[in-house]
């Protein structure tokens, strides 16, 4: 810095701020990706320069005026090898470097804070575990790894935060995930980048990065009362899941306490790790994901729960480490195994919620 004149540095700074060539780096992965990008720009510039120099110099040296008779040169195996191996080597370096970054971006650390994102035409809905809901915006703290679990309610969308250098498709029917750790407080663009119909260009918003204290204050101010898990517990009871999923010895469904992250043996053979995708699939397509030792009798809830409802249930199950409250529900609502999910008579004055009639449950 001391070698650059302050005037020139000021000018460069002003120029780059007003006419940036790349977005701000606001996440931990951004500088890493930018480093690879610059390497590739460098290689490209050098490559292009070589080609342009060769073409220009040959054109001048061997123009018809200067070199009226062409000399037929068949080829050169050495040159062929050179310009095969060197580009291939450079491309392979880029491949490995890029693959490392790719794996890094799509392998969330274990202790990430999970935020659910549901895309639909033409808005983004973000749900924090504490129950805070946002539309077309995402508030995140710095210094914490944050995993986004994304799904679409209708068509393909794509959740893109250029300042973080992350992007992930929102697909109907399955979760996709991406993670980041924000580093710079500020407001950054959020775009939908997969064409999704009429208002695709309006499906944009803001990502607001805050210091941890500001974030905590924001959480407190915008809470809607119940966390995702609490909503999930309500749904769990209203859909009478406890009729089969309880801790009784003759329960018809597996116990769900601490099931998240466990390795489950499937009745079709093989094991599966019970992650968010598995939990979602077990609710919507249960007959393919029966745990070993249980009969394939779980009904499907496809069409009866919205994506937000599924997210709430998944969050609930993720945080479930004891059956105490489930037992309470059973005891107070006469919801015994054998009622098969039929609506039970309302209990008298207990805290447990009324079971809702079958039908779409909107959250």
């Amino acid at each position: 810095m001391s070698h650059i004149s302050p005037t020139i540095w000021q000018f460069l700074n002003k120029w780059l701020t007003n006419f940036p060539l790349f977005p701000p780096e606001a996440s931990k992965i951004a500088p890493q990706m930018d480093a690879l990008f610059f390497f590739m720009v460098l290689v490209s510039v050098i490559g292009l320069t070589i080609v342009v120099l060769l073409v220009t110099s040959f054109s001048l040296l061997y123009s018809q005026k200067r070199h009226p008779v062409a000399v037929q040169v068949e080829g050169s195996t050495l040159l062929e090898a050179t310009w095969t191996i060197i580009p291939l080597g450079l491309f392979l370096i880029m491949f490995v470097w890029g693959a490392l970054i790719y794996f890094r971006v799509y392998t969330p650390p274990a202790n990430s804070m999970n935020i659910y994102v549901v895309g639909k035409q033409w808005m983004w809905k973000a749900e924090h575990p504490g129950g805070q809901h946002e539309i077309n915006s995402l508030h995140v703290p710095t210094g914490r790894s944050i995993q986004l679990t994304i799904i679409s309610q209708d068509v393909f969308h794509s959740f893109s935060i250029p300042a973080f250098r992350v992007k992930r498709e929102a697909i109907p029917g399955r979760y996709t995930t991406v993670w980041f750790e924000a580093t710079e407080p500020g407001t950054y663009h959020l775009f939908c980048t997969q064409y999704c119909g009429t208002n695709h260009s309006q499906m944009i918003g803001d990502v607001v990065v805050m210091t941890p204290q500001d974030y905590k204050r924001w959480l407190d101010e915008s809470t809607s009362g119940m966390s995702l898990a609490q909503n999930g517990e309500r749904l769990f009871a209203s859909l009478s899941c406890a009729a089969c999923h309880n801790a009784k010895p003759d329960a018809r469904g597996p116990n769900l306490a601490n099931v998240y992250g466990a390795k489950l043996p499937l009745s079709s053979g093989g094991t599966v790790t019970a992650d968010e995708a598995y939990l979602r699939e077990s609710i919507l397509n249960p007959s393919q994901h029966i745990t070993q030792g249980y009969a394939p009798i779980m009904p499907t809830y496809q069409g009866q729960i919205s994506e937000e409802g599924v997210i709430a249930l998944v969050e609930y199950i993720k945080n479930l480490n004891s059956d105490y409250r489930i037992e309470q529900t059973l005891n107070t609502t006469d919801l015994l195994p054998g009622s098969e999910g039929k609506t039970a008579p309302a209990s008298a004055g207990q805290a447990s919620p009324k079971p809702a009639p079958q039908g779409k449950v909107n959250q």
Binding site: F19, L21, F22, P23, M33, F37, M40, S44, G47, L48, V51, F58, Y62, S63, Q64, H67, P68, V69, A70, V71, Q72, V73, E74, G75, S76, L79, E80, T84, L88, F91, M94, F95, W97, G98, A99, L100, I101, Y102, T107, V155, F156, S160, P162, R165, K167, R168, E169, I171, P172, H189, T193, Q194, Y195, C196, G197, T198, N199, H200, S201, I204
Partner: protein, 554 residues
Amino acid sequence: MSATIVSLPDQSTARIPKMNYLTKENGLLSWLLTGDHKRIAMLYLISLSFFFFIGGALAGLIRLELLTPQADLMATDTYNKVFTMHGVIMIFFFLVPSVPATLGNFLIPMMIGAKDLALPKINLLSWYLYVAGGILAIYTMAAGGVDTGWTFTTPLSTHYVNTNVLTTGLAAFIAGFSSIFTGLNFIVTIHKMRCPGMTWFRLPLFVWAHYAASILMVLATPVVAIAIVLIALERTIGIGVFDPTKGGDPLLFQHLFWFYSHPAVYIMILPGMGVISETISTFSRKRVFGYTAVAFSSVAIAVFGFFVWAHHMFIMGISNYAVLVFSLLTMLVAVPSAIKIFNWTFTLYKGSITFETPMLYTFGFMGLFTIGGLTGVFLGTSGTDIHLTETYFIVAHFHFVMVGGMLMAFLAGIHFWWPKITGRMYPEKISQLAAVVTFIGFNFTFFPQFILGTLGMPRRYASYPPEFQVLNVFSTAGATILGVGYLLPVLYLTWSLKYGEIAGNNPWQATGLEWQTQSPPLTENFTVTPIMDHEAYDYEWLEKQKEKEVTHAG
């Protein structure tokens, strides 16, 4: 630039040969029912130009809208329809058929010493299918357009739009069969109808390039045909193959679609590369450096091109390990293109170079295709693809390779073979001007889009954040210059039909069997089957030939 290799007959006595493929028969029916590959090529040239300008007008509308950050020129729905049709028309009705259907059709039989392609009726059928598809595309526009994007992503295209998906899909389906039949014809012709002495390694590289592209046309196009059929079924009777609520998978469509659409880009570029081999050789007076390497790299691109399709799906939730495989294969497919660029460059070495218009377009191709191809590596690298995909970086990348690459090669080829096709030369000065204007306009239009993409501006956006406006204005300004550059050839080439200088058989003093015939050629190309007794690009042989008269009639 006063040095030139052009060698024209004495203009005061030269005449267009009375008997040629244009004058053989007269009347509309003789054209509409022709089996002559040269006439079919001309039919294609006229219809292709027509569709190119429609697609170009749509591009102009896009750039006009993007002058301002708001969606104020047209409703967003309309904008969505405009960019969809721009893509559909440019890809299916211009780029895929361009060089093969015009120059390939015209030249391949002549280059191998044959009288026509193997299946002339199928060739004519190809053209009718192309026109039928094109008419359907125009009908779609008149009937309100379609707004799914040319990529027909499900479930948007199957359940969430009520625009003309079926007619557009049908148009693309029909155009696909046109492409399949063209490729089939080329493969059979190249295998079975080479003249005596024309071994595989004496073929011009133009023929090798078309052979490789034809393999892709024949093997890949049917897969997109079935993808379109499945979309039609899904859309009409709701069969559920792509619908997650019925157990289907929208990603299956992506796989089926990109299994064709990636090889499609090589279908588009390989014939253009074939043109470049011919022009760079002629204007350096030298055999292409590393002939075998260039020939094999065409086939390598075709083969590898089948195995990289999922690099269009890196962020769509495919497994990380699949990403590894496809990214690695993408790196491999980039190498043969690099090999070609360097071989062409070294063709210049110790050559005797002149700078006529086809050579200017050739240089433009080499620079712009290098940039476009290298940016493809940015995208094939999985890590950077996360940031760059679905932004204007992609738009810039494919326009560099397709417009800066393929379209420049097409123009190079049209100018290079114009004397052979019409018997007349185009005016040199204005054509050189047009080439330079095109190059400048192109860079102004599309280079800013790389920056826009890096900044994060998504593609297919009718409105955008205001900080992107300056670069968008640059891009639109460039587009107007580019438009001028493309209009000029239409004007002066048409002018040359009547007023251009008489070209004679071989104005460029090029090698190649097509230059040993009269200009324009006879319907049967050769009165006697030629015998190929020299290597391709044999300029020493050409020197000896200069004395001999070549067969022509009238």
